[in-house]
Amino acid sequence: MAAEKDEIKLIGGWASPFVMRPRVALNMKGVVYEMTQETVGKKSDLLLKSNPVYKKIPVLIHNGKPICESMIIVEYIDETWSDGASILPPDPYDRSIARFWTAYVDDKIPDLIRKLRLLVKGSAEAEVEAEKLNAALQLLEEAFEKCSKGKGFFGGDDIGYLDIAFGSQLGWIKAVEKIVEIKFLDKEKIPGLVAWSERFCAHEAVKEVMPEADRLVEFTKMLLSGSFAK
C-alpha cells in the first residue's frame, strides 16, 4: 500500500517507449506523478545519481527511492498500488506467459526499430530487417490469439503487463513504417494485432502518452543530423 503523502517522480522522455511503460501503469492505477524530461545527449545529475549502473531512463523515484528498468518499474507499480485491477494476471502460469513474451519483445523489437529507423527506403538492408520484424510480429499475432482468449487485450478485458510491454513499441513501429515505407501493421497479415493496436492506442491510460509517429520521424531526423547537444 502506498503512503498518503507519496512523492512520485519519473525521470523520462516523451519519445522513449520504455518511459511510456511506467506512465501507462501509473495512469492505470490513477497515481499522480511528476515527470522530468531528460535532454537528449545531456544526462541530468538526478539521472546519473538515481541510475548509476545504466544511466538510462526511465527511473521511478518513489519517496526518494529509485527503481530502474521499465518492466521492473511496471511490476513495482503493480505491487505497490495493489488495490483495484492488477496489471499482471493472477495465475502463475499466465504470468509466466506474459513474462516470456515480454522478454521476447525486448529481445527483438527495440533492436529492429533502432536499425530500421536509420535505413533508406527500398534498400536491401531495409528489406532484410523488415523481414525479421514481420516474422516477430507474426509470432506475436499467434501469442495474442492464445493470451487474449477471445478478449480485447493480451491481458484479457483490460490492458495488462504484455500489452504495456509491446504496446509501448507501437509509436516507433508506425514511425519506421513511414521511414522505410513498408507496412508492418498490416491487417491482412496480422489482423488480431492490428485491431488490438487500435484498442491499445485509444485506451484512456495510453492515448495521452503515446508519441505520434510523425513527431518520432522528426526526432529521428534530428538524431541523425546531430542536432542534440552532446
Binding site: V53, I73, E75, Y76, E79, Y93, R95, R99
Partner: protein
C-alpha cells in the same frame, strides 16, 4: 511434496541456467523428473514445449511448459509458497529483479565476448566485466548474500558467476575476477558454493572446462544455446 510426474525439467548438465532452476527446486523441496537433452540432437518434446527458443531449461508443470530461467524462478516462487526466494517488500523485489537482469544481460554479454574474442575486443570486454564486478562487489557490502542472511532469488541469478565464470576464464585463457579487487564478491562466492543445495548440485569442474574449451573451438561469437 509434489508427485514427481507433475514436475519435469528439461536440461543439459553443463548449463548454468538449468542449474539455477534446479537450485530453486531443491531449496523449495520440490521433487521433479530431470530429462537430459542432447542439444545437438534436440528431443521432439523439447521442441514441442519450447518452439520459439528451442533452449533449455524448460520446466513442465502439469503439462504446462515454462521457459526462460528467471521466468521459471518467479513461477516456482509463486506456485510453491514455502521458503520464498523473492522478498516480500515491492522495493526489495524490484532491486532483486534489477540485479538479476543486470547479470543475465550485461555480465553475460561481456563474459561471452571475453570468452569468444581475442585481442583488443577481448581486453575491452574484460575491462567492462570488471566494472560490473565492482558494482556487484559494492552491492554486497555489509551483506552475507545478495538476499541477506540466506540465499534467495538474486543469489540464484548471479550464482552462475561463482562457477562458470571461473570455468570460462580457464577455458578461454583470461582473468577478470580477482579476489583482491572484489573482496566482498570473492567472500560471497565461497559462502554461496558452501551452501548444501549448491555444492551438491554443480557439474564436475574438469569436464565442464573441457566442454567449454571445445565449445570455444566450435565457433566465433554465436549465442550460447541456453537461457
Amino acid at each position: 511434496m509434489v508427485a514427481s510426474a507433475a514436475v519435469r525439467l528439461f536440461g543439459m548438465w553443463a548449463s548454468p541456467a538449468v542449474r539455477r532452476v534446479e537450485w530453486a527446486l531443491k531449496l523449495k523441496g520440490i521433487e521433479y523428473e530431470y530429462i537430459e537433452e542432447d542439444l545437438s540432437n534436440k528431443s521432439s518434446s523439447l521442441l514441442e514445449f519450447n518452439p520459439i527458443n528451442k533452449q533449455v531449461p524448460v520446466l513442465v508443470h502439469n503439462c504446462n511448459p515454462i521457459v526462460e530461467s528467471l521466468v521459471i524462478l518467479e513461477y516456482i516462487d509463486e506456485t510453491w509458497k514455502d521458503n520464498p526466494i523473492l522478498p516480500v517488500d515491492p522495493l526489495e523485489r524490484a532491486k532483486a529483479r534489477f540485479w538479476a537482469t543486470f547479470v543475465d544481460v550485461k555480465c553475460r554479454e561481456e563474459s561471452r565476448k571475453a570468452f569468444f574474442m581475442e585481442g583488443e575486443e577481448k581486453e575491452k570486454a574484460i575491462e567492462n566485466l570488471q566494472v560490473q564486478l565492482k558494482a556487484l562487489d559494492e552491492e554486497l557490502e555489509g551483506k552475507k548474500f545478495f538476499s541477506g542472511d540466506h540465499i534467495g532469488y538474486t543469489d540464484l541469478a548471479v550464482g552462475w558467476m561463482t562457477f562458470w565464470l571461473g570455468v570460462a576464464e580457464e577455458a578461454a585463457g583470461f582473468k577478470a575476477n580477482y579476489d583482491v579487487k572484489f573482496p566482498n564478491f570473492s567472500r560471497w562466492i565461497k559462502d554461496f558454493l558452501a551452501e548444501p543445495v549448491i555444492k551438491d548440485n554443480l557439474p564436475p569442474r574438469e569436464k565442464t572446462v573441457e566442454f567449454f574449451r571445445a565449445f570455444k573451438q566450435l565457433g566465433s561469437c554465436t549465442k550460447v544455446n541456453q537461457k
